[in-house]
């Protein structure tokens, strides 16, 4: 959290300058490469309104919690990435009828900036982030599931819940899935690729791409417009092996 404040302080004066002259507030030597990989040649600006929350140091490199919230911008897409991960991209959210907010947990391979880039209606990518220290190894370790075939019968099993929050609802979903990165020897990449949160009538509220670094048994939290209602929100998902998943997200706890 202290890092975030520091980043804010550094960013405030920087935001006044022109994009191409801005130094990376996180001072990462990999930033030019990240920029090319994630944003291509699109114009961008470092912007503290793109708030990335993560602990200053990873207690568990296989499960680093991270949340992104964009303040005061109309956002078309948010891309979350970590400079020093062998696969930098973590997820991409298109918040069609949703708040510019997403939280998950991911595998961090070593100390790295964790950043979000938000494409706003002004056509600019707005970039924020924090440094996270980590002992590492999170990405190159096999999933627990890959060592034990028992998970196969539970693949796609999902637990979820919706909480009303003003005119929106916070929805959280966790699915049994190994989320193998393909970086552990002999274990191919196997991960949840695309997810949709829909209203009961089928209208898409949010569309989410998840990539290999998202943690095993992924947990996703978003904020969509409206309430779950009697039929709940609908979740639909698909992994890179073509497995399809669908379930309802309802208010109220278990039992």
């Amino acid at each position: 959290m202290r890092r975030l404040l520091l980043a804010l302080l550094i960013l405030l004066p920087a935001a006044a300058g022109r994009a191409e002259e801005m130094a990376d507030p996180l001072d990462s030597p990999l930033w030019p490469e990240m920029r090319a990989q994630v944003l291509g040649t699109a114009p961008y600006v470092f912007d503290a309104r793109v708030e990335v929350s993560a602990p200053a140091s990873a207690e568990n490199s296989a499960q680093l919690p991270v949340a992104v919230r964009v303040h005061g911008l109309a956002v078309r897409e948010i891309v979350l990435f970590a400079d020093y991960n062998p696969i930098p991209r973590i997820l991409a959210l298109r918040p069609l009828e949703a708040e510019p907010y997403v939280a998950t947990r991911f595998k961090i391979n070593m100390a790295s900036p964790v950043r979000a880039a938000a494409l706003a209606e002004d056509g600019l990518w707005h970039v924020g982030g924090v440094w996270v220290d980590a002992a590492g190894g999170g990405c190159t370790l096999p999933s627990a599931a890959s060592a034990d075939a028992a998970w196969q019968s539970r693949l796609g099993e999902t637990a979820s819940r919706s909480w009303p929050k003003g005119k929106t609802s916070r929805v959280r979903l966790q699915m049994i899935h190994p989320m193998d990165t393909g970086l552990a020897a002999g274990i191919p990449a196997f991960y949840l690729e695309t997810s949709w949160i829909k209203a009961a009538d089928g209208k898409v509220l949010a569309e989410l791409d998840t990539f290999e670094p998202v943690s095993e048994n992924p947990i996703l939290t978003l904020e969509v417009r409206g309430r779950a209602g009697a039929d709940g929100f609908r979740f639909e998902g698909r992994d890179n092996n073509g497995n399809q998943f669908q379930s309802r997200i309802r208010e109220g706890g278990p039992g």
Partner: protein, 310 residues
């Protein structure tokens, strides 16, 4: 004298090679007759403190010395043994690991000739985890770890009550901080070496904790006939504060995390939540709270979700 000469020689070597000579400067504090504690700092592991953040201790019985925990590194273990030799000419005859955590076991090599004792589950835990702990310790405290390697306990703790050189020592096996925590109650002096089951003015750590079991064990501990409690971290306690404070923290932690999970809070939101004023005097409260969210929240979060149907 021989030691002094050796130290002088070492210093000389260091001076000529320009190497930095590291010392913990361990000095035993007498807390009861025959009973000494090396009180560590209320800090986290760092390259400045070399991992000296833990309490270790020893009891000088008539037949020899019983050592309780060996500290974070080989160097620490050696300094301990030197300091013990300055207190008594009697040999070290028993060495105990109270649980598997790195700050309590990595001085083991300095007592290899005596052999280490621990609960069976602690021995199994060290077998599977000590290597990873060592890697992490090298990362966190660096050169202080030089030469340190895991040395597993040689044998399980033999009997529940043992009289050693006139001290009736009760070995009390509990769980909660980890799945096997050993406390040593010396009925001769009323000193309870409480292991990391009790902390004082330093926030409890939870990487392997079962909070419900821990709280239940603390309630049993409060009934034990001790006069002085040596917490795993924090000052020796003659007022019974350590058990109450550890319990208060854990009950608050569990209730706070459980309620937040049911309300749908995110882990990162949880980490930023305020900590009650009554814990203001506890060192590392924020740091350990943040770590505890990582350790404990995922399971509570899972429990708050409902099985989703199509």
């Amino acid at each position: 004298m021989k030691r002094l000469a050796l130290a002088a020689l070492l210093l000389l070597c260091a001076a000529t090679t320009g190497a930095t000579e590291r010392h913990y400067g361990l000095s035993p504090e007498k807390v009861a007759p025959d009973t000494y504690v090396f009180v560590g700092r209320a800090e986290n592991f760092s390259s400045a403190n070399g991992g000296n953040i833990v309490n270790t201790g020893f009891i000088v019985t008539k037949t020899g010395v019983v050592v309780i925990d060996t500290g974070p590194s080989l160097l620490y273990g050696r300094e301990m043994r030197d300091a013990i030799a300055r207190v008594t000419p009697l040999p070290v005859i028993r060495v105990i690991n109270t649980h598997l955590h790195p700050d309590h076991i990595f001085g083991n090599q300095a007592f290899a000739d005596v052999g280490i004792e621990a609960l069976p589950a602690t021995i199994r835990g060290e077998e599977t985890q000590a290597k990873a702990f060592a890697d992490n310790m090298y990362r966190m405290v660096g050169p202080w770890m030089q030469g340190t390697e895991p040395l597993l306990p040689a044998r399980p703790i033999p009997r529940a009550v043992q009289t050693v050189g006139g001290h009736r020592l009760e070995m009390i096996a509990v769980s909660g901080h980890t799945d096997a925590d050993l406390m040593v109650l010396d009925h001769a002096t009323g000193v309870l070496f409480a292991s990391d089951m009790a902390f004082l003015d330093r926030a409890p750590t939870t990487p392997h904790a079962d909070v419900a079991a821990w709280v239940a064990a603390l309630d049993e501990m409060a009934k034990l006939p001790f006069r002085t409690l040596i917490p795993g971290h924090g000052r020796p306690d003659k007022e019974g504060r350590a058990i109450r404070q550890t319990r208060d923290w854990l009950v608050w932690l569990d209730a706070t995390l459980g309620a937040a999970a049911a309300d749908g809070l995110e882990m990162t939101e949880m980490m930023a939540r305020p900590i009650p004023d009554r814990f203001a005097g506890i060192a590392l409260a924020r740091e350990e709270f943040v770590r505890s969210v990582s350790h404990l929240y995922p399971r509570l979060e899972q429990a708050s979700l409902r099985r989703a149907e199509r």
